[in-house]
């Protein structure tokens, strides 16, 4: 099922929302979108995964690749992760290195500091 991506800026941070399946077919599009933001110097990204109903290992790998892409220059935060995704992040032990925030405000605060 197609992955629909929408991005907007909030306090200088890219908020990228994904809807659909994050699988082998869709993972390259998500990574390409983040590479595009990164190339423009927007290296702080909040990835809203509330609309992602299915994720497989390729999707997990894409998230990890984004983390490595923006990690040094900016940062990545995940919000809206469903239980299925959280379970996979626990299994792969990525939950301990990826920044998982409660909501968009908390995610952005952790990236740029609270007002």
């Amino acid at each position: 099922m197609a992955l629909v991506l929408n991005s907007r800026m909030n306090r200088g941070v890219v908020v990228l929302s994904a809807d659909g399946r994050l699988d082998a077919e869709a993972a390259p599009a998500l990574l390409a979108a983040c590479e595009s933001h990164s190339a423009r110097g927007d290296c702080q990204i909040v990835l809203d995964l509330a609309g992602v109903a299915y994720v497989d290992s390729k999707g997990i790998e894409a998230i990890l690749a984004i983390f490595q892409l923006v990690g040094k220059a900016g940062g990545l935060r995940l919000i809206g992760a469903r239980p299925q995704l959280l379970q996979l992040l626990e299994i792969t032990r990525l939950a301990r290195i990826l920044g998982i925030a409660a909501d968009e405000t908390a995610a952005i605060d952790s990236l740029v500091g609270s007002d």
Partner: protein, 286 residues
Amino acid sequence: MSTTDNHEQRSARILTVDDDPTFRQIVLALLRSEGYTVREASDGLTAIKLLQQESFDLVLLDLGLPGAGGLEVLAGAASWKSQPKVIVVSGDTTGPAILGSVRGQAYHYLAKPVNTVTLANVIQDALAAPAAMPLEVLSAREDWVELLVPCEASAPERVQSFLRYLEGDLPKATRESVGRAFCELLMNAIEWGGELDPRRRVRISFLKTVRFLMYRISDPGAGFQPEQLHHAAVTNESDEPFGHMSEREAQGLRPGGFGLLMAGQLVDELVFNEAHNEVVLIKYLN
């Protein structure tokens, strides 16, 4: 997806077959708003007549129809003017309906009630996918399904659209875990064993008993040697959860290698044959 692809998809001709006028009207409004050319039928005999006289790219087919049922419509595919992909959209999720649809070479199965976003996505994906090679049915018992699946990237989701309903009486969490593990391993088999060559096929078996649920996946490749999987997370020592990442970096591979680890954690047992081109995954019930 390119603009041209989108344009070609939007000019696709779709036949929707359903005896529920309300459902038909919702589908018609949805498809027309997306720019598709749509025809409709409220019974099986009208659908058969339209399929014999006109060309379609896609059919949305209910099963419980007056005149001739959906499975009868599918059975007559050889006499159709074109060979559209068929998405079954039905409230019937019994074994005979599911397995009859697989035998009839339906492309995908959606259980009612279905939301319009899901329906639109499945339609878009089906139209975008290349002409699918058939699923060959070797056994179609509700407790023992055996299929030969072409090595196509779309196959795991397609197969799972049918098989998930045969697990319908299990808790949702169990179904989701087993389904994800199965899709991971089937995609591995298709990608690595079958090299994404649709002429090659993966043999899958689904067995369900009172005490366990089992999938067996046999791919056409030569297998692999586990001692050479240093780039996979499954080989990491417990105190080095990301030890494989340096190996991947050295090999110029993208971050990843989590598929086998995930699949193994989502079921109770994961057993490979000696060559590692066959795998059995088991989930114990009760």
